[in-house]
Symmetry: C2
Subunit: 194 residues, 2 copies
């Protein structure tokens, strides 16, 4: 009994998460993760046949973290769907800005292409949350619900991406992304209630 020593597999993922959060995507090398986890450079291979397998496991932690944050802020935002969508968007943008390295890792297309990152277990649950809320505020003349939700998600994602990339602050002259978030929500869902 007492606290159990964390297994090597969990230590590797934890070290990778810590590393990508702290140092960014380029620091997440297999050997550096192994060093931080206190094992030899060959050890990860027992649990992750290839580098992208380990990276995918790290990215999954990122998706789980994001989903947990979204769920929490949505609950704190009260029952109004529009308020909940605002909270979701705010959380999405904050996550991308605060954990840029992780955000980049999560959406690396080579991880997805490797087949180790399954959409149905990572991003789709989050999309379903958004789609549910969107369906509650959708007006009859709007695009079909999945398209509307997809377009709004894409808008959120694009703001997160281009803002981090640096061009949106320069082009819009804004110092924070709040105006862009409100513009996106208003555009897709109609003007805010009040």
């Amino acid at each position: 009994m007492g606290e159990e020593e964390a297994g090597v597999r969990a230590r590797l993922v934890a070290a990778g998460v810590d590393l990508v959060l702290r140092e960014g995507q380029s620091a997440v090398s297999l050997r550096e993760i192994a060093r931080r986890a206190g094992v030899s450079h060959g050890a990860p291979r027992r649990y992750f046949p290839t580098h992208v397998d380990l990276l995918s496991a790290i990215a999954r932690e990122g998706f789980a973290d994001l989903a947990a944050r979204v769920e929490q802020t949505i609950r704190a935002a009260g029952p109004d769907p529009r308020g909940r969508l605002t909270a979701l968007g705010r959380t999405y943008l904050d996550f991308a800005a605060a954990h840029r390295g992780m955000f980049e890792l999560m959406f690396r297309h080579d991880l997805l292409a490797s087949g180790r990152l399954h959409l149905r277990e990572t991003s789709l649950p989050l999309f379903d949350v958004l789609a549910d809320l969107v369906a509650q505020v959708r007006r009859p003349t709007d695009a079909p619900a999945p398209v509307l939700a997809g377009a709004l998600w894409a808008n959120l994602h694009g703001i997160a991406q281009l803002w981090a990339w640096g061009s949106l602050p320069l082009a819009t002259g804004a110092t924070d992304d709040d105006a862009l978030l409100r513009a996106a929500l208003d555009a897709h869902l109609g003007p805010a209630p009040h």
Copy 2:
């Protein structure tokens, strides 16, 4: 007179462009570019002190290519600003889908962070074209012009990104991104004229 032998610098960039278009971002190694350009692995250093300098030069070609395509399709779309915006969006999405590796390279944030990729010379000209058109169709109740243009660009970019990533087709059930493009334009600019 007569055709001049292309300089090593131009050959390197051309080989890099060709490589990233054909094989994707991971194939654009310094040594492979040098091999394809027919020079030794040390030669690029004369013209590009570091790898990211060369990558930045390649990315600039991508931006120039995209800008040229946009300019051409906009002209072919006629004088109506809404039609021109549709053409711009269509071109943006087509470019991202057809040249995924180049599109990823262009928006790699480490290239921007290296200081070799200057926003004012790459993406801002394109943004200005979009902002001009947006200003012509903006309604009084819309967000301020720069914010509106920025939000629309972000929406385009997000669609391009998430579509290529694979989650939007799965989540929306669509087989092409046309519905998303129309939804984005309608949301930000109001319903299409007819």
